[in-house]
């Protein structure tokens, strides 16, 4: 089993969780509201007298505004910490959350300091490396096992639309 496992590619998943005005759930609503408040604060650092109000307009005139992705993440990070290193929403076939992550990123898709309803962000969660063992029917079979003989833990799951394989290593 050990050598069989080691022959399989290692992948890292990236889950892009989009949060916008219709955010369902208390956690998502809190993230949406607090990242918008932080956006309005940090937006002013880059304005320098400009009259623009939207993120898309500011980034066109001020390339440094790309830093807002990172700066706004400060409002989300304490919510991300509450996930305790487990990627949300992505469940295995038994209904369990199972993908661990260390790395994360916030992306501002669009926002406007005068229209909160336009605030739309994505939280990107990058999984730890997982062993891609194979497929069972339409399900992907993966394991976090690396160099373990005998039985190893595995998860069977189907890939939802916003989950991508971020990197693959033979």
């Amino acid at each position: 089993m050990g050598s069989f496992i080691q022959e399989k590619p290692v992948v890292r998943f990236c889950y892009r969780k989009i949060i916008e005005v219709q955010a369902a759930g208390h956690w998502e609503q809190a993230v949406w509201e607090d990242t918008y408040a932080e956006f309005r604060i940090q937006f002013q650092v880059f304005l320098a007298g400009q009259q623009v109000t939207s993120f898309s307009a500011l980034r066109r005139s001020t390339p440094a505004a790309e830093r807002l992705h990172f700066l706004v993440s400060g409002a989300a990070i304490n919510y991300v910490r509450r996930l305790e290193g487990i990627i949300p929403d992505i469940r295995d076939n038994a209904g369990q959350l199972f993908l661990s992550f260390h790395d994360f990123r916030l992306e501002i898709i669009e926002s406007d300091i005068q229209q909160q309803s336009k605030h739309k962000i994505a939280l990107l969660f990058y999984s730890i490396p997982m062993r891609w063992v194979g497929h069972v029917g339409e399900y992907m079979l993966i394991s976090c096992a690396d160099n373990i003989a005998g039985e190893v833990p595995a998860h069977l799951f189907s890939i939802p639309p916003t989950l991508n394989i971020h990197t693959i290593q033979s």
């Binding site: 408040a37 002013q44 790309e66 990172f70």
Partner: protein, 234 residues
């Protein structure tokens, strides 16, 4: 830790529901339902798995995280230009600066690099001024990077988040040269080759009055104390 907190709250809520008859029989006068007659206090309930709001990661006084460097206590006093520079209480002060190597907490150069969520916002902090117009931060003596003299960024805004001033704090040249030439044991290994003094810095060179210059005492081993007054139109 947080999960334990929620479990504890959930268990407490369930416990109250299940044992209420027993509890009611032996509760103290100041416990349980309050009010008089049919006027009962609404029960406290959890809102779900994530019931509370979390403050921004910037809201903290110790902003060091995992960064090495000489300890520095920074005291910033905000005055109101519209009131003879009297202390301005209740305004928000953000600061951020680079680490001993000259790096900021940021995503990578492309803007698409991910970061470990545990220590992502090092050397960034936010405090609200007290009745004396002061905020205090625990941090490290900043390093430097090519093209700039040592500095701390400051953004001051009203309690509602309207920007009052974006500015920077300057450091005495001699002290920066000393820290970066003798502070290797504290993490300042960059040296001073190429260091730009304030007079040549494109931000501070026009500050002839020294209004952006901090007063700094202390030492590498004992830590530094920075103080400065910044006035805004509050």
């Amino acid at each position: 830790m947080e999960r334990k907190f929620f479990l504890k709250r959930s268990i407490t809520a369930l416990g109250v529901a299940f044992v209420a008859p027993l509890v009611n029989s032996c509760k103290k006068d100041n416990e349980g339902t309050t009010g008089s007659g049919s006027c009962a206090e609404a029960p406290a309930e959890t809102e779900g798995p994530y019931p509370t709001k979390n403050p921004s990661a910037y809201v903290r006084s110790d902003i060091r995280d995992d960064r090495a460097g000489a300890l520095m206590a920074a005291s910033i006093t905000i005055g109101n230009l519209n009131n003879n520079c009297a202390a301005l209480a209740g305004v928000i002060v953000d600061i951020w600066h680079c680490d001993a190597d000259g790096n900021y907490s940021e995503y990578g150069g492309s803007g698409t690099q991910s970061v470990n969520y545990q220590s992502v916002h090092f050397l960034r902090g936010r405090q609200v001024t007290d009745a004396n117009g002061q905020v205090a931060f625990t941090t490290i003596f900043p390093g430097w990077y090519t093209g700039r003299a040592t500095h701390i960024h400051v953004h001051i805004y009203t309690a509602s988040g309207t920007s009052l001033k974006v500015t920077q704090i300057a450091f005495p040249d001699d002290l920066c040269l000393q820290v970066n030439s003798t502070g290797a044991a504290y993490g300042y290994t960059k040296g001073i080759s190429g260091y730009i003094k304030n007079a040549s810095d494109n931000i501070f060179s026009d500050d002839a009055a020294g209004t952006q210059m901090a007063a700094i005492t202390g030492s590498l081993s004992g830590g530094y104390q920075l103080s400065i007054s910044l006035n805004v139109k509050g």
